[in-house]
């Protein structure tokens, strides 16, 4: 530890993260910072070209309104998201993202992203809100624009710190003052001092045990490097959090987790159980229990899951995507043989690109099992639970809404600012604004960045950073290295020692608790009050043992803190699942002791806050309010 040099970086705005929302934030922040003589620094734990959830690429943009042609309005999108989230959504935030998202998409196209066009030059829609792209290099292109924007402020190395892992927030009273972390490449400890901090570190994966637990452990649907750092940072700063119970479980092609959107929306494929029954038809009556949401089209994502799960858990699996049937229907609908051949060739290209752009493993799985989709169906299955406020989950910080449409209860200051002064959130870091996806996360990063610059202009003082506190945190953050060094020699196995625990084993313990007590895969996503209370009890031991995490090197040191971040996400989740005494999102989780939706008592946000001064958790109910009239 003596070798660790402390590097202090002082800036105006600090952006933490490197994915879609962070890159959106960098582009927008650089523009407004330059106009106002301010500085911007971005910190990414990986290489920005391929960091974040879009690292592999994407085959579609799931959010595009088509405002120019009045294809959709932001109000239409709010109605869709509200229904999909079973009534629990911040309409003001969703509206705000929706009205700006086309602007980000048009920028992507200018930057070089190939977007599919029809004969009239219009974007090809996969569904009402989705457009198709050749997205292998989507992230590279978006990162390039962000880096070019940062370069306009000076040398890139002074504005972008790659491979620096942020552990903790720094606070000055009720205002954020910066962030603290370390390089995973060399023995440098970083103290970033900032007037405002924008959190965009993604969601959380591997909080729950994944389905594949051997070599395929890393094949989660959302990437394994999203480790709950946003949730940890905002919680530790004392910010109020929302929808921590609203996790997401996608149904995807089984094991490879390849995308199903093109098959369902573009090729109109059906899914059936092993007996050829389509539960979206055969179990349609079930939806009436969830009126008005269940009886409104499109059927909410969780309820589609729910209908499939009734079949699956009732012993009617496997579930299949009927690809062959869909291809036959397309072929039958075309006028002649030549046209059919052309159409099917196109489909083959599109279907393989869909996988190759974003889930290459699925292509490998199809090739290794000789799957020709025109000849046989392919299995689909629910994945494990994830925390992803940008998709059909809702978890994130509770942030202030836009002045013009946010009701007064949702507007306490700058747009996208959390309940901590100067702390801004975007993408998976901001909650209850689901279905923003990659494009909406970029747009939200831009909204939050502009707002943060405004905050700085109007609050232009450098918060204090307490030197003793920094030293204390440095010692704490580097402790796993010291623990390993001090104890290692005594044991024949570097991973087995009574005085410490390695981060991977720590993660396995967390995942076992979450899987078995908080409704993971093996429990068919079902839990109850006694299970959750027992899980929270076991989490106390884990939290105590987090003081004994050990790291052999910088890579393991990052893993230690990533898993501490996951543990906090887990606790916020369990506490909120326990708090909400109903089953609001069947298909994402079931409270066996409260199996029904309780519209009368729980048409509310379930929020929580960890109080930094006392270490206590506070649970809060917040009203669901429509857009300001």
């Amino acid at each position: 530890m003596a070798d660790f040099k402390t590097i202090e970086v002082t800036t105006d705005l600090l952006i933490i993260g490197g994915g879609m929302s962070a890159c959106g934030a960098a582009v927008e922040a650089a523009y407004w910072a330059k106009k106002n003589g301010l500085n911007v620094v971005m910190v990414d734990k990986a290489a920005t070209d391929r960091s974040g959830a879009v690292a592999m690429g994407l085959s579609a943009l799931n959010l595009y309104l088509g405002l120019a042609d009045e294809y959709n309005s932001p109000d239409d999108y709010v109605a869709y998201v509200r229904n999909d989230m079973m009534g629990i959504t911040r309409e003001d935030l969703v509206f705000n993202i929706a009205r700006h998202v086309d602007s980000s998409v048009h920028l992507f196209e200018r930057w070089g992203l190939p977007i599919w066009k029809d004969e009239d030059g219009k974007y090809v829609h996969e569904g009402r809100w989705q457009i198709m792209i050749n997205g292998e290099s989507y992230k590279v292109i978006v990162a390039e624009a962000a880096k070019n924007a940062l370069k306009s402020l000076g040398p890139l190395e002074e504005h972008l710190f790659e491979r620096v892992f942020i552990v903790e927030p720094l606070l000055d009273g009720d205002r954020v003052a910066g962030a603290i972390g370390f390089s995973v490449r060399d023995e440098n400890f970083y103290v970033f001092r900032a007037k405002s901090v924008l959190v965009a570190m993604g969601g959380a994966v591997h909080v729950f045990r994944p389905r594949s637990t051997g070599e395929g452990f890393g094949r989660t649907w959302y990437p394994p490097w999203n480790t709950g750092s946003s949730a940890y940072f905002t919680l530790k700063a004392g910010a109020e959090m929302t929808s921590q119970e609203a996790r997401f479980i996608p149904v995807r092609f089984k094991d490879g987790y390849g995308p199903v959107g093109a098959w369902f929306l573009l090729y109109k494929a059906n899914a059936t159980n092993a007996f050829g029954e389509d539960s979206l038809v055969t179990r349609i009556d079930e939806l009436e229990k969830y009126a008005p949401y269940g009886t409104t089209k499109p059927i909410p994502t969780c309820l589609r899951n729910h209908l499939w799960m009734i079949d699956l858990f009732g012993g009617k699996g496997p579930l299949y995507m009927q690809t062959a049937e869909a291809i036959k229907n397309i072929a039958d609908a075309s006028p002649d043989e030549k046209e059919t051949k052309k159409k099917l060739k196109e489909l083959e290209f599109e279907a393989w690109e869909d996988f190759l752009d974003m889930t290459i493993t699925q292509s490998l799985l199809w090739a290794a099992t000789n799957v020709e989709p025109e000849k046989q169906p392919s299995e689909i299955a629910p994945c494990e639970p994830y925390f992803i406020g940008s998709h059909s989950g809702g978890s994130g910080a509770w942030v202030s809404g836009p002045e013009d449409v946010a009701p007064p209860a949702y507007n306490w200051g700058y747009c996208n600012m959390a309940t901590v002064n100067g702390l801004f959130c975007a993408g998976d870091a901001s909650g209850a604004s689901s279905h923003k996806y990659s494009s909406g996360s970029h747009a939200e990063g831009r909204i939050a960045a502009k707002s943060a610059i405004r905050f700085i202009v109007e609050n232009n003082t450098q918060p204090n950073v307490d030197k003793a506190r920094v030293e204390e945190l440095k010692k704490k953050i580097l402790r796993p290295l010291a623990i390993f060094k001090e104890n290692r020699e005594e044991s024949s196995d570097p991973n087995i020692h009574p005085n410490y625990i390695k981060p991977k084993d720590f993660m396995f313990r967390l995942q076992k608790i979450m899987d078995e007590y908080a409704g993971g895969v093996t429990m068919h996503f079902t839990t109850n009050k006694p299970l959750l209370e027992k899980g929270l009890e076991l989490l106390v031991y884990l939290r105590e043992d987090s003081e004994k995490l050990a790291a052999e090197d910088l890579h393991e040191l990052m893993r230690c803190w990533e898993n501490v971040h996951r543990m906090w996400q887990a606790e916020a989740h369990m506490r909120t699942v326990l708090f909400r005494e109903e089953t609001r999102w069947p298909g994402y989780y079931y409270r066996a002791d409260y199996p029904d939706i309780d519209q009368k008592n729980w048409h509310l946000f379930a929020n929580c806050r960890w109080i930094p001064k006392t270490g206590e958790w506070v649970m809060l109910k917040r009203e669901v309010l429509p857009l300001k009239k």
Partner: protein
């Protein structure tokens, strides 16, 4: 074992301070073994099979063998990424081959201008418009109809 390095092809990026795979891996898995000067995946269990190391390797020295949990042996998916497009060769377990070429970008590398050559907006920090709006929206920023 997700991504693995073909030792005969890997040249350790010729002693640069870091290898290309080490630079790009989003999960900090690829490292250079200083003794052998060959790269390796230090924790295949945490690999997402994102293929970024495969795509970036100048020696084409990295391949992916599908997760042993659920992918039978015998297939391969091999990319060759250029500056405008990517070629994929897919070999099935039964020997069938498929080749695809897809566009990856429409502009020369490095040229993404932050404003996308859209006209700047009113540049009002207190206003609703982001940097290139309304131009990049092709209309004024919508207000609620409610």
């Amino acid at each position: 074992m997700p991504s693995f390095v073909l030792v005969k092809k890997c040249d350790g990026c010729k002693g640069q301070d870091k290898t290309a795979c080490q630079y790009i891996c989003p999960n900090d898995l690829m490292v250079l073994n200083p003794a052998t000067l060959k790269a390796y995946n230090r924790d295949p269990q945490m690999c997402w099979e994102c293929y970024n190391c495969v795509k970036i390797c100048p020696q084409q020295a990295i391949d992916v063998r599908g997760y042993s949990d659920f992918i039978p042996l015998g297939a391969s998916v091999t990319p060759l990424r250029g500056s405008e497009d990517i070629m994929w060769t897919i070999k099935f377990r039964n020997g069938m081959l498929k080749r695809f070429k897809f566009s990856i970008r429409t502009t020369p590398e490095g040229t993404a201008a932050p404003l996308g050559e859209f006209a700047e907006g009113p540049a009002n920090l207190n206003g609703i418009e982001l940097m290139t709006e309304p131009a990049s929206l092709t209309r004024s920023v919508p207000r609620s109809k409610k």
